[in-house]
């Protein structure tokens, strides 16, 4: 389905760049031809579970499309994941294939593997390497059609229609694997086709990582819409500008934080990037000042604000703005996209308490992996197609959604949906720590900040911030590390003896 659609797109644009990153680019023709070899490789393994731990860009996309073509299951994982983060994913599912840049660069992540797997490395120097019980294969060997490996994919207890697993922070400190079907991926492309057609044949630049739910969705959306899509894996302003200039990019997609910082540095504006015409901001609270500054620099541009969740492919709503429009009030995230509808009526704006947003959409996930070989449905309702988003809100007279916070304790930091419990588990592992509570005071740039409140065992001296920060660096990816640590002699607790999160947050905010 997805693969056949890619063939159609590639046919008419063989020599056009499909996707690039900091180090390489690939045309539609080469992308499709190379994907054929990888598709065969995956198909020969049965229906493998492929953990995709590459930086965003041509190789990531190539493997992703090949996995979709082979009806394998693929799951993106940040390529700089720590051993602990990789372990928490491997607790949920034993991958049959792990795709890496090189054995050396991702040695820590690979050390988390407990069962034999095929390790597919994109480093030519890894050809002939050995790694314990694992089989090491290089991308060059796959493309030569060399197939001396014989591994039968395991049964993961995942429904047959699932094509992709999007890992997301769970509410218990462990990640959840959201189960997405090809039908949902295709529905997202169809639901956005009118909007995406405006960019057909024109370059777009995406600064959201491809392993992230929004980054992954927008890259596929634009590649399939025939837009050369340029992605970046790190914030290096001059290089972003040079690549946008060289590709004549007309659209920039990123988190509100990216736009805020780029405006502060003077990256955006007619001096360096006069060709930009469209800005898409996703997944976090949008600062009205950022939108005002974008229109001041680009009066003829359009600004698009996306609201979505990992549990549904792409955006659930989109707010389209032009210069001269009323500044959007905080929380306004726009109108439903594609075939999405509200499954439960929401109160009118300002009319009583907000209610949970429940959405019917063909893009909704089927369920989520909760432990090895066990998944649970995510959808409810009579027709089992209603997603409870965990966000509360209202609708206005135009049917647009106004979000008013969450019914759960997830943090939203720079567009990442982060479970405080996952961070707490990592921080409690430090010797002498009795308890940790992670809270998220609001921040105008990041949405929320990550602040850890720590209580040591009685009589145990607290570590220095440097010692504790080093521990966090080894245990947590950069976007999950606390921005601040606060030591409490005793954490405020409820009558039941549990840490009182609300009081802790209030004390930290004061």
């Amino acid at each position: 389905m997805m693969f056949a659609q890619l063939r159609d797109v590639a046919r008419s644009r063989r020599d056009t760049v499909a996707i690039s990153n900091e180090s390489s680019n690939i045309t539609y023709g080469v992308l499709f031809d190379r994907a054929l070899a990888f598709r065969e490789f995956f198909a020969n393994l049965g229906r493998p579970f492929v953990l995709l731990a590459l930086p965003g860009g041509p190789e990531f996309t190539l493997v992703q499309l090949a996995a979709l073509g082979a009806e394998a299951i693929h799951a993106p994982l940040p390529h700089k994941s720590t051993t602990r983060e990789a372990s928490s994913v491997i607790d949920l599912v034993a991958p049959d294939v792990v795709v890496v840049e090189s054995l050396q660069l991702q040695a820590g992540m690979l050390s988390a593997l407990r069962e034999p797997a095929v390790i597919l490395s994109f480093a030519a120097s890894d050809e002939g390497s050995k790694m314990g019980a694992h089989t090491v294969v290089t991308s060059a060997q796959v493309e030569r059609g060399h197939s001396t490996w014989h591994t039968e994919a395991r049964d993961h207890g995942i429904p047959a229609e699932v094509a992709m697993v999007q890992f997301t922070s769970g509410s218990t400190g462990s990640p959840k694997g959201v189960l997405l079907t090809q039908a949902a991926l295709l529905a997202n492309l169809a639901g956005n086709s009118d909007h995406l057609a405006r960019f057909e044949g024109r370059s777009v630049f995406c600064t959201v990582p491809q392993f992230h739910a929004m980054g992954g969705a927008v890259v596929l959306e634009h590649v399939y819409a025939g837009s050369p899509t340029h992605v970046t894996n790190q914030f290096v302003p001059a290089e972003d500008v040079r690549r946008m200039q060289a590709s004549d990019a007309v659209a920039l997609l990123g988190s509100p934080n990216y736009f805020s910082l780029a405006l502060r540095l003077g990256v955006l504006g007619a001096k360096h990037l006069p060709g930009l015409r469209s800005f898409t901001l996703g997944t976090a609270a949008v600062d009205v000042e950022t939108i005002r500054q974008l229109f001041a620099a680009y009066p003829d541009a359009s600004v698009h604000v996306r609201y979505g969740l990992s549990e549904s492919v792409g955006a659930l709503t989109r707010l389209d703005l032009r210069a001269g429009d009323e500044p959007p009030p905080p929380g306004l995230v726009g109108s439903l996209v594609g075939d999405a509808t509200f499954a439960e009526a929401l109160p009118r704006l300002g009319d009583g308490e907000p209610r949970e947003v429940v959405v019917r959409s063909s893009c909704n996930a089927l369920g989520q992996l909760i432990s090895r070989n066990i998944w649970s449905p995510l959808l409810s309702g009579d027709s089992r197609n209603e997603l409870r988003t965990g966000d509360c809100g209202y609708v206005d007279d135009h049917g647009r959604l106004h979000v008013r916070g969450r019914t759960t304790t997830f943090l939203k930091v720079n567009g990442y949906r982060i479970s405080p419990f996952e961070i707490e588990v990592a921080l409690r592992a430090y010797p002498g720590v009795n308890d940790v509570v992670v809270v998220g005071p609001s921040d105008p740039v990041m949405g929320q900040k990550i602040v850890a409140a720590i209580e040591m065992h009685v009589g145990v001296a607290a570590p220095t911030e440097l010692e504790y920060a080093r521990h966090c660096q080894a245990e947590l990816a950069a976007h999950k590390r606390p921005h601040r640590y606060v030591w409490f002699e005793q954490l405020p607790r409820t009558h039941a003896g549990k840490p009182d999160r609300n009081r802790i947050l209030r004390e930290i905010e004061s």
């Binding site: 914030f235 290096v236 290089e239 910082l261 440097l466 921005h483």
Partner: protein, 87 residues
């Protein structure tokens, strides 16, 4: 009097980078000559912006955004070299 060389101002730059990272992310780090600031992820997006602002204020130089790249900001010594030729 001659301007200080890159090697002479490197310790000041390393201290400034450490301070900016602490202020931006809450992480205590000690920057050494061999630390790859961008490649290792030490300088994230917010730290990068704050570092550019701090360099301009401390050394009185204009940092052109088109110079903020992997070469000029690779390490504390690379930044010191960039600053020393612009003072």
């Amino acid at each position: 009097m001659s301007q200080p060389t890159a090697l002479q101002i490197e310790p000041e730059i390393a201290a400034l980078v450490g301070a900016v990272i602490r202020e931006s992310t809450g992480r205590e780090v000690t920057i050494s000559l061999s630390d790859r600031l961008i490649e290792s992820g030490l300088l994230d997006s917010l730290s990068m912006v704050n570092l550019v602002v701090a360099l301009q204020a401390k050394f009185g130089v204009e940092v052109d955004i088109m110079d903020v790249d992997e070469q000029n900001f690779a390490s504390s010594l690379a930044i010191a070299e960039y600053i020393s030729v612009r003072r």
